[in-house]
Amino acid sequence: MSTGTQHRKRDIFVEGAIPSSFIAESIAKHATRTDIGAHEIFLGQVRADAMDATGEGTTVQTVSAIEYTAYRDMANEQMITIREEAFTRWPEMTCLHVHHSQGVIKAGELCFMVFASAPHRRQAREAVAYVTDEVKKRLPIFGREILSDTTHIWKRNT
C-alpha cells in the first residue's frame, strides 16, 4: 500500500451532512499553496425525488432523507485505488479530497464532496468528473431512501 503524502490512507466518511462551512474551510486551507491555479468541486445533495413506492402509480411519496451506511474498510481501500488512478492520469494535480456522509441526511443537505486542485483547470475538472463517477460505481455505500410516509426504498446507482 502506498504511503506517499498524496496517497496516504484516510477515512472519507463523515457523520451526518457535510456543512457548507466545511467546504469554505477546505478552500481556505489551500491559500498557502500558491502553485494551485484551479479548484474544481463536485457536491452531491440529497434530492427530494418523487417515488412510486407501491409500483402501482397510485401512491407517490417524496424522499425526505437518505440514510447512508457503508462497508467502510472496503470503501476506504477502493478510494485509495481510485485516488492512485487519478494521480496517475492527472500527475499535475496538486491534491484531491473526497468526503462522503454516513447516517441520515435530509433532502437539501450535502452528502458527497469531491475537491481537486491543480495548477490549471483542465486537470482539476477531469479528475473530479472521473473520481465522482468511480466513487459512485465502486464504493460499497448503501442508501436507504426514507419517504414522506416513513416507508423506505433502497437507492441504487444506475
Binding site: 462497508y71 474498510d73 448503501f142 441504487r156
Partner: protein
C-alpha cells in the same frame, strides 16, 4: 465464518452478520440463500477480503467475506 451483511441484505436477514461454513463461493451463495429468505431475488455481489469476486473460488475460512447489495454512494 462470520459473513458481513449490508444494506437491504442486512435488512432481509435482520442481522449485520451471519455465521456460515462454506468451502467455496458457490457453496456460500447456496447457504446464504437458504438462510436469508428472499435473498435469491435480490441483486448482490460477494466481496472476499474487501474485493468483489464474481467467479467461484475456494475459501479457507480465514477470509473477510461480505454480501453487498447494489451500491448507492453519491
Amino acid at each position: 465464518m462470520d459473513v458481513l451483511l449490508f444494506g437491504m441484505v442486512a435488512e432481509k436477514a435482520g442481522a449485520i452478520s451471519i455465521d456460515l461454513e462454506a468451502g467455496s463461493l458457490v457453496e456460500l451463495r447456496r447457504k446464504l440463500e437458504l438462510s436469508i429468505p428472499g435473498l435469491e431475488r435480490l441483486s448482490y455481489v460477494i466481496a472476499v477480503d474487501r474485493k468483489v469476486v464474481l467467479n467461484d473460488r475456494a475459501l479457507t475460512g480465514s477470509e473477510e467475506i461480505a454480501v453487498l447489495p447494489p451500491f448507492a454512494g453519491g
